[in-house]
């Protein structure tokens, strides 16, 4: 039995590495030969490359357990030639599209709960708007603004990796004591769990601490155009004490609200470029179809480690590029 599982995982890993290699090879061939001079204009080559890039992210996202938005913004800022404004704008639209597509589905199943999200969103919405304003102001007000954004994103990505490494999700957290605010607001919920064939009820605690944490999460999401589900879920699950499934679903509602609020800042500053946004949204969407199908069968560890390595590497590259940009390092 164990050998069978190992063989399946090995085969899936090989297939996946082949898919990614083929896409990369196709991109390289496209760039070098087909696109030479007359065949395809430069913008078309970039649209196809960007689609393939987002497609690979879409495929490995479900397998790695790390959100596609984080991978796109982190890697994109490190290797893509676009200005950081447009990468953050595209990351935000991609995260928003996914959250908006899935939040209603979760809400209709009774999993996503607006009542839990509301007090947190009161804080995170305004901070995501402030984050967007500060992020775009830094990149445009200073001659080396983009470098400051890259350095701070690199630091955020390193914090993200360590936060994920040390946090342990709990399926049904035990609440010892409710805080007064959560009690006063009557924050509680229930959902029908088909695997247990019963309705599970839950309550919330530590609301003031969670609201403070969401202020920070909202700011980071707005400033860097990240979905920030990686921060939402642990706070909902471990700090507030909401069951894991509800945390994931409610995180989608919070993502949809925060991202759309900060997106207005990006829209008002022209930081949304259709030439970049469209292939990214489509690439991640279609890639996730394949990734999720493979993820249902197995989640090869090698992919997880590759993605974790990529995020770590892009964090370091962003910091180094940023330091080089402000003249501290030679790059």
């Amino acid at each position: 039995m164990a050998t069978e599982i190992t063989t399946t995982k090995f085969r899936t890993s090989v297939i996946l590495i082949m898919i990614v290699s083929l896409v990369l090879a196709a991109a390289a061939v496209l760039w070098e030969t087909v696109g030479s001079e007359q065949t395809l204009p430069l913008w078309a080559r970039w649209v196809i490359l960007l689609f393939l890039f987002a497609f690979v992210i879409g495929v490995i996202g479900p397998l790695s357990g790390v959100g596609g938005g984080v991978i796109f913004v982190g890697l994109g800022m490190a290797i893509l030639p676009f200005h950081v404004d447009f990468i953050r704008g595209a990351g935000l639209v991609a995260a928003l599209t996914t959250a908006l597509s899935s939040a209603p589905h979760f809400a209709e199943r009774g999993l996503a709960n607006l009542r839990i999200a509301a007090p947190l969103v009161v804080v995170s919405t305004i901070f995501s708007v402030i984050g967007g304003i500060v992020g775009l102001w830094v990149s445009s007000a200073f001659p080396n603004g983009a470098s400051y954004v890259k350095i701070s994103l690199g630091i955020v990505l390193l914090i993200l990796l360590s936060a994920l490494a040390f946090s342990k999700n709990v399926e049904y957290p035990q609440i010892k004591k409710r805080d007064k605010l959560a009690e006063k607001l009557g924050i509680k919920g229930a959902w029908y769990e088909p695997t247990l064939n019963k309705v599970i009820e839950y309550q919330a605690t530590n609301l003031p601490i969670a609201m403070l944490a969401f202020a920070g999460v909202g700011f980071v999401a707005g400033m860097f155009g990240l979905g920030a589900g990686w921060a939402n879920v642990p706070i909902l699950n471990l700090v507030i004490g909401v069951p894991l499934k509800v945390s994931v679903a409610t995180s989608m509602i919070i993502l949809a609200i925060n991202d759309s609020a900060s997106l207005w800042v990006y829209l008002a500053n022209g930081a949304v470029l259709p030439l970049i946004v469209v292939p990214v949204v489509l690439g991640i969407g279609i890639g996730s179809r394949i990734g999720s199908r493979i993820a249902v069968r197995t989640k090869p560890k090698i992919i997880k480690y590759i993605v974790i390595g990529l995020i770590g590497l892009s964090a370091i590259v962003n910091v180094l590029q940023g330091l080089a940009g402000i003249g501290v390092l030679r790059w």
Binding site: L42, W43, A44, G58, P62, G65, G68, P81, H83, F86, T97, P104, H105, E108, A112, N113, L114, R115, A118, V122, V129, S139, L164, N169, V170, E171, Y172, Q174, I175, K176, K177, A190, W191, Y192, N197, V199, E201, Y202, W230, P234, P243, L244, V248, M252, A256, I257, S260, A261, W264, V265, L267, A268, N269, G270, V272, V277, I286, S288, R289, R293
Partner: protein, 213 residues
């Protein structure tokens, strides 16, 4: 195999989209501690599902709740979850605006990439390493300060893609405004505050623009 089957085989489902941005297990670096016990304090557990039937003979799996889900029933072997008004209206608003927004984006993108708009895409490529404000000045000669840079040219497919994105960004606000009449007490106050924050986020650039002049 019909066209619908072909598309459903290619396009991602909502669950799959949810998974890519927000993987349920977060298992890359965070193992799950599984415990099948529901929270202990103040949370009534149902060890066994109470099965009762309503006047129509439909099996009721869970009694009426005052929050979140208002009932779970089993009809012809299919579990049906009913959610409360606030979550239901909010979900519907998100779904409708998301679908309309995506349709506008996709249709406009086809026209945009087919070259049916006035945009010079090679000029955009030459300038996309510049900050957004400088980019639009160089490419279209317009200042990206507020929303006029895309609202002023509705016949340009490039602007229409951005209008589609604007519809996506409007979805939660519309959801709140539709849900507020069905709320009371603290929840109504919270939703009102969030709506005001949203409206501020939308009109802030316009206020700044007017104040700047």
């Amino acid at each position: 195999m019909g066209v619908r089957d072909v598309f459903s085989g290619i396009l991602p489902s909502i669950d799959e989209l949810a998974e890519v941005m927000e993987p349920e297990t977060k298992e890359a670096l965070a193992p799950i501690t599984t415990s099948l016990d529901a929270p202990e304090i103040d949370v009534p557990k149902r060890k066994e599902t109470t099965v009762i039937k309503d006047e129509r003979g439909v099996e009721i799996v869970a009694p009426e709740q005052s929050f979140d889900i208002v009932g779970v029933s089993r009809e012809n072997g299919v579990i049906k979850v009913e959610i409360d008004f606030v979550n239901r209206v909010f979900a519907k608003a998100l779904r409708w605006l998301c679908n309309i927004g995506l349709a506008v984006i996709i249709i406009s993108a086809v026209l945009y990439f087919a070259g049916l708009g006035p945009s010079d895409l090679n000029l955009e490529v030459a300038n996309w390493n510049k900050p957004a404000v400088e980019f639009w000045e160089n490419v279209k000669g317009s200042t990206a300060n507020g929303y006029s840079w895309f609202l002023a040219s509705p016949m340009d497919p490039e602007s229409d893609v951005v209008i589609g994105i604007t519809l996506l960004a409007l979805a939660p606000l519309v959801g709140f405004l539709l849900a507020i009449p069905g709320t009371k007490g603290t929840l109504r106050l919270l939703l009102l505050i969030i709506s005001v924050e949203f409206i501020y986020a939308i009109i802030r650039p316009l206020i700044m623009h007017v104040a700047g002049h």
